[in-house]
């Protein structure tokens, strides 16, 4: 079993995405090979700030799907006021933002994979995702990575 870390990023909330990227960048800096698998709401972490969706319902869903900078915290969001407050406080305390952490993760060689099935369901196209995503894969590809990992986390 290699010195690897695999993360399933299911959540699309600012605080959880921060935790995922802090762990991923910290692991990469500690010499681990890191794979992040973005599925369902987690796709927001690797989505460009574009409106998605092809069908009527897909476009409605696309209206709710944010990008890494647009997601709110899991608690105290208050329709965006909490997001603004958290961002102010994070800046005050010099905490790295989610988009910055994602860029750092890419720089450190963290492998980012997007879930094909979630993309189909949510009508998100490959071109709606940021360039740091290396591949769009299914569960078997992720499981192959997880099986070779010392640590696997679901966030």
């Amino acid at each position: 079993m290699g010195n690897r870390l695999s993360l399933v990023v299911f959540s699309g909330e600012m605080d959880r995405l921060m935790a995922a990227f802090v762990i991923a960048t910290g692991a990469a800096a500690s010499g681990m090979e890191v794979t992040m698998f973005f599925t369902f709401w987690g796709l927001q972490a690797v989505k460009k700030p574009v409106r998605t969706g092809a069908s009527a319902m897909g476009r409605m869903l696309g209206w709710f799907l944010k990008d890494a900078d647009g997601v709110g915290p899991s608690k105290l969001n208050f329709g965006g006021a909490g997001r603004w407050m958290f961002k102010q406080m994070m800046r005050k305390h010099n905490v790295t933002s989610v988009p910055e952490l994602r860029a750092l993760a890419a720089e450190l060689g963290v492998k980012m994979l997007a879930c094909q099935m979630s993309m189909e369901v949510m009508e998100v196209r490959r071109e709606d995702l940021v360039d740091s995503v290396q591949e769009v894969v299914g569960v078997a590809a992720f499981l192959e990575e997880a099986a070779r990992s010392r640590v696997t986390l679901f966030i």
Partner: protein, 79 residues
């Protein structure tokens, strides 16, 4: 970042997790084996994180200590 005869001096003051560890990991790659990186930081998490990072990556923790609010540490590149 400033190059010295002994290696490198890093200013990590004001930076919070995971940035101190990431900057140290990046800096270690730029120095020779045997060189020492000296750093200052203010995040108290560094006190536990830098020793842990050294154990995980096999680098040598030369020293770590706290003076008032500033943490000083030195890490030697072993491999």
């Amino acid at each position: 970042m400033e190059a010295t005869k002994r290696g490198l001096v890093l200013d990590l003051k004001g930076l919070l997790c995971p940035i101190p560890v990431v900057k140290l990991a990046q800096a270690v790659k730029t120095v020779q084996v045997g060189d020492v990186i000296e750093a200052t930081a203010t995040d108290p998490g560094v006190l536990a994180d830098i020793p842990a990072w050294c154990r995980t990556t096999g680098q040598e923790l030369v020293s770590i200590g706290r003076e008032d609010k500033v943490i000083h540490f030195a890490v030697r590149r072993v491999k």
